[in-house]
């Protein structure tokens, strides 16, 4: 996904003079060609993430379309107030593109992991949040978001689904359950393939989205109404329950049950290893999701 991101942005740099890239050393080499071709439009500030976000705000205030990029903890958490003041309060936009999604950087340890990224960003108004599940979705998302002026968080991951789905504001139904189905499963981004596998023997509707904000409340409401039970299992690759309040809002008009899967909130996982091992530990591998799904849908 990171390569697709760089390739798409480098192409945009050639085509749209508004485009600017703001970096804090991470991935600087991927934009070297653009920095030579387009003087002043690739700005590497060194390891200065607070400046990176406010500089992006300043660029936007002169009419440019800034793209800021780093590891998720250094892009969203360290300069959080810059996101609030330098972008939101100034009423300007930027595209933030993160790598390291949740525990992709398992070997690097806690400092390079930020499963909280979408949850903390969700406390600020006006953000579009994209969680692509395939490199082609990264390109699709950027082609939709680059021409605008809005605030976008594009969360890249090393984990991909086998096939790309269109990036759009509405939920995408991947499998439709019967009229007596147990409920709806919503898989976000890279969680889709394993969620499909984990729920293969259940009569449920499986929906997918790579656009988690704004959340398609209406779409989820329609799917829940058509299912045998209005019960929703949410499978997100980041902090557990990040979109639980959106599910609640979507189903506020009907009795329902809901369960959220994601990275647990109650303890820091103090382990290195691989993303696969972290997924297993968090119950986010196929087996873990299957077990939670069977229990939740009372199979």
């Amino acid at each position: 996904m990171r390569e697709t991101f760089a390739a798409t942005v480098n192409e945009a740099m050639d085509e749209d003079p508004r485009t600017a890239v703001v970096l804090a050393d991470i991935s600087a080499g991927m934009f070297r060609r653009s920095s030579l071709k387009h003087p002043g439009r690739v700005i590497n500030l060194g390891i200065r993430e607070q400046a990176m976000i406010d500089v992006a705000g300043g660029l936007a205030l002169t009419g440019m379309r800034p793209i800021a990029h780093s590891y998720a903890p250094f892009l969203v958490e360290r300069p959080f107030e810059q996101l609030k003041i330098g972008l939101g309060h100034q009423d300007v936009g930027a595209i933030l593109v993160s790598i390291g999604g949740s525990y992709d950087a398992a070997e690097e340890g806690r400092t390079h992991q930020a499963p909280e990224d979408v949850a903390v960003l969700d406390t600020l108004p006006g953000w579009t949040v994209r969680v692509p599940g395939h490199p082609d979705e990264v390109r699709d998302a950027l082609e939709q978001d680059l021409p605008g002026d809005h605030r976008v968080y594009l969360r890249l991951s090393n984990t991909s689904n086998r096939a790309a789905l269109p990036v759009r504001p509405r939920l995408h139904v991947v499998r439709t359950g019967s009229s007596r189905s147990a409920g709806v499963v919503l898989a976000v981004g890279p969680m889709l393939d394993r969620t499909l596998e984990a729920t293969a023997d259940l009569d449920v509707t499986v929906a997918y989205t790579s656009t988690v904000r704004p959340f398609d409340r209406e779409g989820l409401g329609v799917l829940a109404a058509a299912a045998g039970n209005a019960d929703v299992l949410l499978v997100e690759p980041y902090l557990r329950g990040t979109s639980a309040h959106e599910v609640s809002e979507s189903l506020a008009d009907r009795r329902h049950r809901q369960l959220s899967l994601g990275v647990p909130r109650d303890a820091e996982l103090r382990a290195y290893g691989t993303p696969t091992e972290h997924a297993r530990s968090h119950g986010l591998d196929t087996e873990g999701i299957a077990k939670s799904a069977r229990e939740f849908f009372l199979v």
Partner: protein
């Protein structure tokens, strides 16, 4: 004579501030910036109410945000704000609060109040103007002027911007630091040195002396960003 013309002189500023704060309650932060703001808007910045949205305007950023009465008074004297608007300041329906909001007031370039954002925002603007090769009709580059306080420099985010601007040679950026000795732990050796060592040109002046301030704001020809340290005793 219109109302605007009647309140358009330096001598009118205390009366304009009085409309907001009452005649006797001039607070220190407000007063410390008064002369610098006046010289900037009267003699330095190339921006008027008619060009407040022009791409090639000069931009002024009140980074510290605190004590904005002097700022609002100068904006009113220069026609960016209607004088009667000053009366209702800080009330629910007023666009004028204790910290300015760019969305509510045309002519105000940034919303500020949380310290340490103006300099990196101004750096981004200066880089944006340069990247787009924006020039005035006479071929000169518009400039970005950021006002910070000496206490505000405590915030580490400023020092990210100082180092980056110096190293990138952003000479369309000027910072004016109002030094009224308000930083709790002080700046041994002076504020100017913090900028110089990072590659800026630094000038120190009496922050009440209009001629000296005007001279200090003459753009740097050295290819370096400019820091003007304006000493003010409250």
């Amino acid at each position: 004579m219109t109302i605007t013309a009647a309140f358009s002189r330096y001598a009118d500023l205390p009366a304009l501030i009085g409309l907001m704060e009452g005649d006797e309650k001039h607070n220190g932060a407000s007063a410390s910036t008064l002369d610098v703001l006046w010289v900037l808007y009267d003699r330095v910045l190339d921006v008027t109410p008619d060009t407040a949205e022009a791409p090639d305007r000069d931009r002024f950023l009140l980074s510290k945000g605190h004590g904005p009465a002097a700022y609002y008074a100068v904006l009113a004297a220069k026609g960016f704000l209607d004088v009667p608007t000053l009366r209702g300041w800080t009330t629910f329906d007023s666009p004028l609060g204790h910290h300015p909001d760019r969305v509510l007031v045309p002519g105000i370039e940034i919303g500020s109040g949380s310290l340490g954002h103006g300099m990196p925002l101004g750096l981004g603007m200066a880089l944006g103007l340069r990247a787009q090769r924006i020039r005035r009709a006479d071929g000169t580059e518009p400039r970005v002027v950021v006002l910070v306080g000496d206490g505000e420099l405590d915030e580490g985010s400023n020092h990210e911007a100082i180092a980056a601007a110096g190293r990138l040679g952003v000479d369309n950026l000027t910072v004016v630091a109002i030094d009224n000795d308000s930083a709790t732990h002080g700046w041994p050796g002076g504020i100017g040195r913090r900028f110089e060592v990072e590659g800026w040109e630094a000038r120190e002046v009496n922050g009440r002396d209009h001629t000296a301030l005007h001279d200090a704001f003459v753009p740097s020809r050295s290819g370096r960003p400019l820091a003007v340290v304006a000493r003010v005793r409250n």
